[in-house]
């Protein structure tokens, strides 16, 4: 479903952030990208949503090269490959429900249809009873759930989570991981970047470890061995 073929990414002044990275992720997989800060984890996610182009190599989504996508094709890619961030990126002047509806209106859903669909995903993340609340009225863990609900609403096939537990206490972080696993069990491919060793160790999922832009390990049920 997703493939990196010898992908290299350099920023300005030839600073290498990803060096000759190759891996394939199949549909329905759950993958942790681990490694220290600056290892290249977020760069991989940004390349996957077409936010930047690789310096060399190929990135394939369903056998289509993302680096050749037009702006419009990138927009359509992002309807299937959705991302959540550590800082949630929630609109604070909209209710929980309205934040989720953003995803669905983009897909052209009619209001009644969109509301029904949004409530379905809010039920999945356990927030349907808080749908009329504003973000300021709910906790950080719940904000992350709103972000996840918004990301999986609609036609998403792949969920990318960039340090989703980074701003959360361990218990809330565990709940978010359980939620991501639940979403993965419905068939959605999930890729999570994290520093959280305990989280990765207990999950027993595939781990791709990066160091200074190079993949140093790619193991199924790998656990976390931070360098």
């Amino acid at each position: 479903m997703l493939e990196f073929r010898k992908v290299t990414k350099k920023y300005l002044a030839n600073r290498m952030v990803l060096d000759n990275a190759s891996f394939t992720i199949e549909s329905g997989e759950f993958v942790y990208l681990v490694g220290p800060s600056g290892a290249g984890k977020t760069t991989i996610l940004r390349l996957l949503i077409g936010e930047m182009k690789p310096t060399s190599g190929k990135i394939l989504y369903r056998d289509h090269p993302i680096q050749k996508f037009s702006k419009r094709q990138i927009a359509y890619l992002r309807r299937e490959v959705r991302i959540v961030f550590q800082d949630f990126k929630i609109l604070f002047d909209r209710t929980v429900l309205e934040n989720v509806l953003l995803s669905l209106y983009i897909l052209g859903r009619k209001q009644s249809e969109a509301v029904a669909e949004a409530r379905k995903v809010l039920k999945l993340v356990g927030l349907d009873d808080k749908r009329s609340m504003f973000p300021i009225q709910i906790s950080a863990g719940e904000l992350q759930r709103v972000a996840i609900a918004r990301a999986i609403a609609g036609d998403s096939k792949v969920l990318l989570a960039d340090e989703p537990t980074g701003n959360l206490d361990p218990d809330t972080g565990n709940e978010i991981v359980k939620l991501l696993e639940e979403i993965n069990s419905t068939g959605t491919t999930v890729i999570v970047t994290t520093h959280n060793e305990a989280l990765v160790n207990q999950a027993k999922k595939r781990v791709i470890e990066l160091h200074n832009g190079t993949i140093i390990r790619d193991e199924k049920e790998g656990g976390y061995r931070a360098s």
């Binding site: 949503i49 927009a75 299937e80 990126k89 953003l102 995803s103 209106y105 983009i106 918004r150």
Partner: protein, 288 residues
């Protein structure tokens, strides 16, 4: 959907919305005033041009044959549209008609004491002076009456108003465009986070642009309607007063809106939509 989003944008920053609409309304209101004034002056001018523009009165020494010769001579200049000869008898009929309510004035008057006359219409108002001079220099012509000053001053007013109107309306339109561009730019800047989120969720550029373009178009059309309404109210209010200055020509078409006010509304709406959309589009070019 995009219309709802545009309304949301407007509701969430009411002061900016008010500023944009107010500035555009002012521009369109002044434009409407210029347009109605020009139309009124043009209506008066057209009406005056339809009237006998020059009337030459002859003494009794001038025979009907002499007057016919003079008539042919001024027609030969190529500057005269038409002439009408009024004999002493015709003048009496006219006099009686004009004074039918005052029998005292009718008692004393006979055709003998009234002069024969020649009414002349020129092809252009600019020829009036020349034809009037020719007639007044003719022996046997007692008096020449014509609307020289009125027509000339009207022509110069129309020309000046047109020039000033074009300059003023251009400046005001540029100001409106700049205000709109600034307001929409500020809104885009304020919505950077929302735009970023929408892009991450898969919104196309046009999905993001449409609400801003619609917002600009709404500002323009609301301003056009408000300006039109205000100018119509002003016109209705001023009509009885201004009618006295129009040489008896009914002011505009306040009684029949279809003649001028509806085309004016259509014109203002088109300009409003164009200015609104262009302002928003320029803002979007700069910030998205």
């Amino acid at each position: 959907m995009h219309l709802n989003t545009a309304f949301q944008h407007m509701r969430r920053s009411p002061y900016q919305t008010f500023a944009a609409i107010l500035t555009m309304t002012l521009t369109f209101f002044i434009s409407a005033i210029f347009a109605t004034t020009l139309y009124h002056l043009q209506t008066i001018l057209t009406d005056l041009e339809k009237r006998p523009q020059i009337t030459a009165f002859f003494s009794d020494v001038k025979t009907e044959e002499d007057i016919r010769v003079l008539d042919e001579r001024i027609k030969a200049t190529g500057k005269v549209e038409s002439t009408v000869y009024k004999s002493k008898e015709d003048a009496l009929v006219l006099y009686k008609e004009q004074n039918k309510d005052d029998p005292l004035l009718l008692e004393m008057v006979t055709a003998d004491i009234l002069p024969a006359s020649l009414e002349v219409k020129t092809l252009k108002p600019e020829y009036l002076s020349e034809i009037a001079t020719t007639l007044s220099e003719e022996p046997g012509v007692e008096d020449v009456m014509y609307l020289k000053e009125e027509v000339e001053s009207l022509v110069s007013w129309i020309q000046a108003l047109r020039a000033e109107g074009v300059i003023l309306i251009s400046i005001l339109t540029a100001v409106s465009l700049l205000v709109l561009l600034t307001v929409i730019s500020m809104k885009i800047a304020l919505k950077q986070k929302e735009i970023e989120i929408l892009e991450l969720l898969g919104a196309t550029s046009w999905y993001i642009r449409w609400p801003f373009l619609i917002e600009g178009a709404l500002y323009g059309s609301v301003a056009a309607i408000l300006a039109w309404g205000a100018s119509y109210v002003r016109l209705l209010y001023a009509t009885p007063y201004l009618d006295g200055y129009g040489w008896g020509v009914p002011l505009l078409s306040a009684g029949s809106p279809t003649d001028f006010m509806l085309p004016l509304l259509a014109g203002l709406l088109i300009v409003g939509l164009v200015v609104g959309v262009i302002g928003s589009f320029l803002a979007l070019l700069r910030y998205s």
